[in-house]
């Protein structure tokens, strides 16, 4: 029994794992070696090229293919590796230190959240989706609420729209700060790890003040938001903006110009625009290849067409481009937040449609009907007309979509979340192929996968 057979027989992933070369279909092998576009119309000689990957010189001597097999080694990285951001498991075939092919094995955090979503009412649904991408929970709630509202056909008041935008952008800042921290850690910059978490705490402090919780807020509800912004929120947000902006300059000093960091990021984990588009990759990874695609700009939702901001793109599609894009997206988000501070309209923070909004607290004390209404709202929920809707927003990681089917009852018939991390993980084999195993950590980190969303 070879090593790989032994592995397969002692774990329950079996055929999901990377197989030895003779057992793999040519197409699948092409995928694992990152031969995305060469595999589109596979010609025999192209498959042969893909088969050998970097060792094209060796391909000239067909007798040596078995020798390659015996010289390479399949290793596991994860699922308990500290730098794979959760329970991501990468299986890699190595020749010495060079990565020949990679296969992500996922599902270790699968909790059936889409199935759970079918059992929860629309009023409860946000508590479920907020736990998927736990680094940008508010964006998850946002896409769920937008989708529900598309089915309901309600239009939410302007203040609710702007509050949602404010929270979504603050969440982008906190998520990117978290990424700066973990990416710093992966590259050996322990101080960045501490700084990133410190600044993120500022934002989370404001979330706690507004929503009651640091994470998993359930703040956005179908029809608006759960509560108005707290008194003095302008000063708080202003403080966050000033502080984070000042710190990004410090990060520049600490990291951006530093030769060791640049050496580790530049030219590593390269992906081309064509490959990224073919693999449905979105977010900072797609933009790092030079494609100016940001749903906030190209297919605006909320009131993003009323604020001024730039879509940042890279040139080379390498790890450094992705680093630079995320760092500068923090600044762009702060630019948006400053405009929101100026333009925040007054008025209701949730729609005054009794069908989807519970009566105000004060009314419950004086009116029996209001009490009954409130009770029924939270025990039976509200009914949503039959239909289907797909809504997508730009989360910090890329396109976050929600496809919902309603059968006319108070629970969604089907609730599907298109997680950007799940799709973006497909780019990992392309980025890693031909690189060194030491760079695998840096490259995986630059994809910024959140396993809660990958596995759902």
């Amino acid at each position: 029994m070879s090593d790989i057979d032994l592995l397969a027989s002692t774990t329950s992933e079996a055929s999901q794992e990377m197989q030895s070369r003779p057992q793999v279909l040519a197409k699948e092998l092409g995928r694992e070696t990152g031969a995305v576009l060469r595999g589109r119309n596979p010609e025999p000689e192209e498959i042969a090229t893909a088969l050998i990957g970097v060792e094209e010189a060796v391909a000239a001597e067909p007798d040596r293919s078995e020798e390659i097999e015996s010289e390479t080694m399949i290793i596991n990285m994860g699922p308990q590796h500290p730098s794979t951001h959760g329970v991501l498991r990468l299986m890699m075939e190595l020749d010495g230190e060079t990565i020949l092919r990679t296969k992500p094995v996922i599902g270790y955090l699968h909790t059936g959240m889409e199935k759970t979503g079918e059992e929860l009412m629309y009023v409860q649904g946000a508590t479920n989706v907020t736990r998927m991408d736990y680094l940008s929970p508010l964006n998850n709630e946002l896409v769920f609420c937008l989708c529900t509202e598309a089915l309901l056909g309600v239009e939410i008041p302007p203040r609710a729209v702007w509050i949602r935008m404010l929270m979504s952008e603050l969440n982008r800042v906190s998520s990117h700060l978290m990424w700066m921290a973990t990416n710093g850690m992966d590259l050996g910059s322990t101080s960045m790890m501490i700084y990133g978490f410190r600044e993120r705490e500022l934002v989370l402090g404001f979330f706690e003040k507004t929503t009651g919780l640091r994470m998993n807020h359930n703040y956005m509800r179908p029809g608006g938001v759960a509560a108005d912004l707290p008194d003095g929120w302008e000063e708080d947000v202003d403080l966050i903006c000033d502080n984070v902006l000042k710190r990004t300059a410090e990060y520049d000093e600490l990291l951006t110009g530093q030769p060791i960091l640049r050496e580790r990021l530049e030219g590593v984990g390269v992906i081309t625009a064509e490959e990224a588009l073919s693999l449905s990759v979105t977010g900072p990874i797609l933009r790092s290849t030079g494609v100016p695609w940001d749903l906030r700009k190209t297919m605006p939702y909320l009131a993003y067409d009323k604020v001024d901001f730039d879509v940042l793109v890279g040139t080379y599609g390498d790890n450094f481009d992705r680093y630079a894009i995320r760092l500068n997206e923090i600044r762009e988000s702060i630019r948006i937040i400053r405009q929101i501070l100026e333009k925040m309209p007054s008025g209701d923070y949730r729609v005054q449609d009794r069908k989807v909004t519970p009566p105000p607290r004060a009314r419950i004390d004086e009116s029996m009907e209001a009490l009954i209404h409130h009770f029924k709202m939270f025990t039976e929920g509200f009914r949503v007309p039959e239909g289907e809707a797909y809504v997508a927003i730009e989360s910090p990681r890329g396109e976050l979509g929600c496809y919902m089917v309603s059968d006319g009852s108070a629970k969604p018939y089907r609730m599907h979340i298109r997680g950007p991390s799940f799709v973006n993980l497909q780019a990992v084999p392309v980025m890693l192929q031909g690189g060194l195993v030491a760079d695998a950590v840096a490259t995986t980190s630059s994809v910024d996968p959140v396993m809660g969303e990958v596995d759902r």
Binding site: Q16, S280, Y390
Partner: protein
Amino acid sequence: MENSSTVVTSDSAYETEGQLEQLDKVVQSTIHFVPGNVRPIILFPERENYLSVVMAMHEGGCEMLEDLTAVDYLHLSGRQLPSQVKPERFEVVVHLLSMSASRRFEIRVQIPEDDPTIDTLYDVYHGSEAMEREVFDMFGIVFNDHPDMTRILMPDDWEGYPLRKDYGVNRVPVQFREAPGPR
């Protein structure tokens, strides 16, 4: 890494006037439904034509596959569909994105319960790989010619397809092969 293929620059990606006409042609020749400006145009190809319609959409300027999922309509047979479309138990829902036109297209294919198979989109959009595996894992719909038709989220020896409507929510105990039995 060596790659001789041309890079899509922003110029070439956004100059597709002629391609858009081709998109319209595909839409016109397939059973379709235009629900208004906000929601995407919905196409209803036959299962046999599905791959060719998607290929035509791809050539017509849909650069990206946004999403691929499925719905089990077991308890919702009376749903609204165009009159030419025969409702079946499963429906595969695909969202294609035309970046040049900033437009979204939805493709829905009916899949019968007794033969849950459909062609893979892998050869057109490589990004469909993981999404199709997820649909296979959750609904048991097999994608013909897919490079790696294995479960992706559930363990390999899991029985049943969790997102099917007849898969009991409370009925099946958690099965972990490695877990010790009752003593």
